[in-house]
């Protein structure tokens, strides 16, 4: 019964909430009309947008030494998670058989393990920094903690189910994924989709005003 629920109705429900929620959220951002900028353009908005999207991948030289840990841990976590999510063999097979109808070459098992370790290590460091630094603690919301813990639990249950010998462990992993999918559109996890438009918007505004930032 529980297996049927997790593999069937709850999976489709969570997928629907995720897709509709993300699309609704993005549409709301795109179609929101901001104030028209009446100032004389001093530079290219498009150039500023593109420049800002890429320049923000590297920290500013002035503060690089102070934010070394979150930058390194951030890259470890995000790149590790991306690799595991889209190139781990079980995920590629799952996407091919259940969603897309086509697959791609997965990464070898050792690379999967290393990527998982990077993701785990990065997330632990980032969450501890959030908890242990006074500024990090003050600017963190409940949403930030729930998102971090839920992501960690999803990764952990996935790692526990690696041996594929027990359907209960696979179901536990899938259940936590479904919880994450339902939570995703209403949380800070939306930055997965909004960080590029957000950077582009800010960069365009800077570019038009001639701000070199």
């Amino acid at each position: 019964m529980i297996a049927y629920l997790i593999d069937g109705p709850l999976w489709y429900f969570s997928l629907a909430v995720f897709c509709i929620g993300v699309l609704w959220h993005l549409a709301r951002i795109i179609f929101t009309r901001g104030r028209t900028d009446l100032s004389v353009a001093r530079g290219s908005a498009g150039g500023g947008a593109i420049r800002n999207v890429f320049s923000r991948f590297i920290p500013h030289r002035e503060i690089a030494s102070q934010i070394g840990l979150p930058v390194v841990a951030g890259y470890m976590f995000h790149l590790g998670l991306f690799a595991v999510l889209f190139f781990a063999a079980p995920h590629v097979i799952f996407l091919e058989e259940n969603l897309l109808g086509f697959g791609w070459t997965p990464m070898p098992h050792w690379a999967f393990i290393v990527a998982s370790q990077f993701a785990f290590f990065g997330l632990i460091l980032l969450w501890l920094r959030r908890m242990l630094t006074s500024v990090g603690r003050l600017i963190s919301t409940t949403d930030d903690h729930v998102a971090a813990i839920l992501t960690f639990v999803v990764m952990l249950t996935g790692c526990l189910a690696l041996l594929k010998g027990f359907p209960e462990l696979r179901l536990l992993h899938r259940f936590t994924v479904e919880l994450l999918l339902i939570y995703f559109p209403f949380s800070c996890l939306m930055h997965t989709f909004t960080f590029i438009p957000s950077r582009a918007f800010t960069g365009a505004w800077f570019g038009r005003r001639g701000i070199d930032a």
Binding site: L69, Q117, F120, I124, L125, L138, C159, L160, L163
Partner: protein, 367 residues
């Protein structure tokens, strides 16, 4: 004449054959009964005969021979690979027996023993307080980075301890409680979780060395701390620097045993690197005993850093400690702190923590 002779030979041959046949018929049941189990109940159901190759395999196994160094008896083969010439590694039996008879038996005793001592100590001594109580005036002890390194190592260590103990003791302790299926599920999950997170412990350990090693080098005065039992035996506090000898010894124990556990763990988790089964067995013993020692001592560390000593947990929570705590436990460091005027007022500390200052929350100073 020749024909008669031939008939005689044939007659004699037939007669001899009949006699032999009769003899075989008479003796065969005896031979069979000699080879058959003497008592059927000595053998498992379905097995009706002693293996005719048992002597051969006994010779191959060489179990009863004395140890030939650490290397099992090797034969000759064209198969290329580590220990491919070893048909049966008899020492594997010794290792399996050792594992069952020693760590599985003594690990729970060691851990329960330490827990009992701590409970007893707490019941007798209670929380070790600070003369004069907490003042609310704080001194920075650890940076954000140092605390992140400490807690990363602590979280990873606790996870590895939990999953490792399930793997080591689960068969004995969990099967009677939850049954075979739940145990096998837990064991499978623990194995994967243990192996995947394990290397992060090694990296955390390296970060720990880089962050803390310099301040943990032994110095003059540390031995006095040891001789006075760290102040826990008898009354009064013992002189200490930034770290006292107990803290330094725990640190080096974590580093040295931690590296031993990590390296032996890597040897175990990557069996195809060319190490033989003997190296694997030795690594397993080092891994298990190192882990048990570290887990047992870590219980003491956790006790001392939290409910055992007043004001200690704040060092790893906020990175700051009360000046009275510093004077009580690390008087030589307290002298440096005062000379360099590094003491924060309670108001400044609250502001740094993003809190509104409330004297009632921080000051417990006794007159």
């Amino acid at each position: 004449m020749v024909g008669h002779f031939s008939k005689q030979i044939i007659y004699e041959a037939v007669k001899l054959s009949i006699i032999l046949l009769l003899a075989v018929c008479v003796t065969l049941p005896e031979v069979a009964s000699a080879n058959a189990p003497r008592q059927q109940k000595d053998f498992p159901q379905g097995v009706s005969a002693v293996s005719p190759g048992s002597d051969l395999w006994r010779d191959v196994r060489q179990r009863d021979l004395p140890l030939q160094g650490a290397v099992p008896l090797q034969g000759v083969t064209q198969v290329q690979g580590v220990e491919s010439g070893v048909l049966i590694n008899a020492q594997g039996d010794r290792w399996a027996r050792f594992r069952t008879e020693n760590p599985v038996r003594y690990a729970p005793m060691a851990l329960l023993g330490v827990i009992s001592i701590l409970v007893l100590f707490y019941a007798m001594r209670g929380k070790v307080g600070i003369d004069g109580g907490l003042s609310g005036r704080m001194v920075k002890r650890f940076t954000d980075y140092e605390r992140i390194v400490h807690w990363t190592l602590a979280i990873v260590f606790l996870w590895l301890a939990l999953t490792g103990l399930i793997l080591l003791l689960g068969r004995t302790l969990l099967i009677p409680l939850f049954g075979h299926h739940v145990f096998s599920l837990l064991a499978s999950a623990s194995k994967e979780g243990h192996n995947l997170i394990g290397p992060i412990f090694l990296v955390s350990l390296v970060m720990m060395v880089i962050s803390f090693a310099r301040r943990n080098i032994y110095e003059k005065g540390d031995l006095t701390w040891l001789l006075k039992g760290g102040g826990f035996i008898g009354k009064g506090h013992v002189s200490g620097g930034f770290f006292n000898m107990g803290e330094k010894s725990w640190y080096w124990m974590v580093i040295l045993i931690g590296f031993a556990i990590s390296i032996s763990g890597l040897i175990l988790v990557m069996p195809s690197l060319g190490q033989g089964r003997v190296i694997m067995a030795i690594s397993h013993v080092v891994h298990v005993f190192g882990a048990i020692v570290l887990i047992a001592v870590s219980l003491g560390h956790m006790y001392m850093g939290s409910i055992g000593t007043e004001g200690s947990i704040e060092a790893m929570k906020s990175g700051y400690v009360d000046i009275n705590w510093v004077e009580a436990h690390h008087d030589r460091w307290a002298k440096q702190v005062k000379e360099n005027n590094l003491i924060l007022s309670a108001e400044d500390f609250a502001r740094l923590q993003g809190r509104k200052f409330d004297p009632a929350d921080t000051v417990t100073e006794q007159s």
